[in-house]
């Protein structure tokens, strides 16, 4: 009875830790996406310095070619279609109640999960160079979203474990048991 209560308490603590990490990541990803969309809004509303700061912040991580960016009132977003998809995908994946740790049971399943969600972006990058097809804003954005969802699904249990909020319940993605716990 005591061990069941302890196990329930530990599971509750783990869930709380995961929820805290989820909220932290949601705030981070939401802020990044808001900054991406906010840059052109600031530029068109007479705040050029603030807009320039945001454009410069994102310049090391994205090419920012205007033809490859969504635009607001003729002003390009701070990152390209693909990067916008990644940031939005990361944010939206965090809104879903489940995590990868909840349904991936083995190393094989995890690898398939990574490859399936990364494949659209890899194909969308490689196929135009090979002359197989021409990527569109929608394909770049959608492929980026899939990759963003993958990133969130891995970062959530990883950061949760790192912050020592409790390990995920999943045997593959969770923390290694201590020597005394191995039966």
């Amino acid at each position: 009875m005591k061990s069941v209560m302890m196990a329930n308490g530990k599971a509750l603590e783990e869930e709380r830790g995961m929820a805290t990490t989820r909220i932290l990541l949601m705030v981070l990803c939401g802020s990044i996406f808001a900054a991406v969309v906010g840059a052109p809004i600031l530029a068109t509303h007479a705040h050029p310095l603030a807009a320039a700061f945001l454009y410069l912040m994102f310049s090391p991580v994205c090419h920012q070619i205007p033809d490859r960016c969504f635009s607001f009132s003729g002003q390009a977003w701070a990152v390209c279609h693909r990067c916008s998809g990644i940031y939005l995908g990361m944010f939206l994946a965090l809104l879903t109640p489940f995590t990868a740790a909840g349904f991936l049971r083995s190393a094989w399943e995890t690898r398939v999960w990574v490859l399936v969600l990364a494949a659209p972006m890899l194909i969308d990058v490689a196929a135009p160079h090979l002359g197989w097809w021409v990527s569109t804003p929608l394909s770049r954005f959608a492929a980026g979203m899939a990759f963003g969802a993958l990133i969130s699904s891995l970062l959530l249990p990883g950061i949760s474990e790192l912050l020592d909020h409790g390990s995920p319940k999943h045997p593959r993605l969770g923390a290694a048991p201590l020597q005394g716990e191995i039966e």
Partner: protein, 183 residues
């Protein structure tokens, strides 16, 4: 710092990230979702998985990525200093490069472009200050992005379950067979 053998893989991955990111032209690949930084994080994770006696968890992958990114940013900044000194001897200082970068940023508002042009040329102090500011920005970006690489690397390369030892431990080779003592 060398928690559970993380320092060596992080150093290898971090130095690779720093060197490749600081080399002119080669470093521009970072404009595509920080490709070098993600690759460096994945390389570190691969090395850790290969060296570790027990299964590497996502949390350790994330921590390793964080360390790799931080080392990468420091190496990148340190490599940039001699490169900038060579360029300044050729008459190109950091401010000139910043102006060129501002001219090449397509989304930057024209008022800000003018503002960059109107900044008077400074000496070595201003160049060093700009390099340090860029280094701090890189420290944040590289650490965050390399975390993604570390998590992806663990998800792709780790085949064992948590707590499961390696089938063929690489860190500690088996002891040599003892010589048989005859009667």
């Amino acid at each position: 710092m060398n928690r559970e053998g993380m320092l060596k893989p992080a150093l290898i991955g971090g130095v690779l990230v720093g060197v490749l990111s600081s080399v002119p032209f080669v470093g521009t690949l970072n404009c595509f979702c920080c490709a070098w930084v993600i690759a460096g994080g994945m390389l570190s994770a691969y090395l850790l998985v290969k060296e570790s006696l027990f299964a590497v968890t996502l949390g350790r992958g994330v921590a390793l990525g964080l360390l790799t990114g931080a080392i990468g940013a420091v190496v990148d900044t340190l490599f940039s200093i001699p490169i900038q000194m060579l360029l300044s001897r050729a008459g190109i200082n950091v401010l000139d490069q910043l102006r060129t970068a501002a001219d090449q940023l397509p989304s930057l508002p024209p008022e800000v472009r003018e503002m960059f042009r109107s900044i008077p040329a400074g000496g070595l102090g201003l160049s060093l200050m700009l390099l340090i500011a860029a280094g701090l920005l890189k420290l944040v970006i590289y650490s965050l992005v390399a975390m993604i690489g570390g998590a992806l690397g663990v998800a792709l390369f780790e085949k064992r379950r948590p707590g499961e030892p390696s089938a063929t431990p690489t860190a500690y080779p088996p002891p040599p067979p003892q010589a048989l003592s005859g009667p």
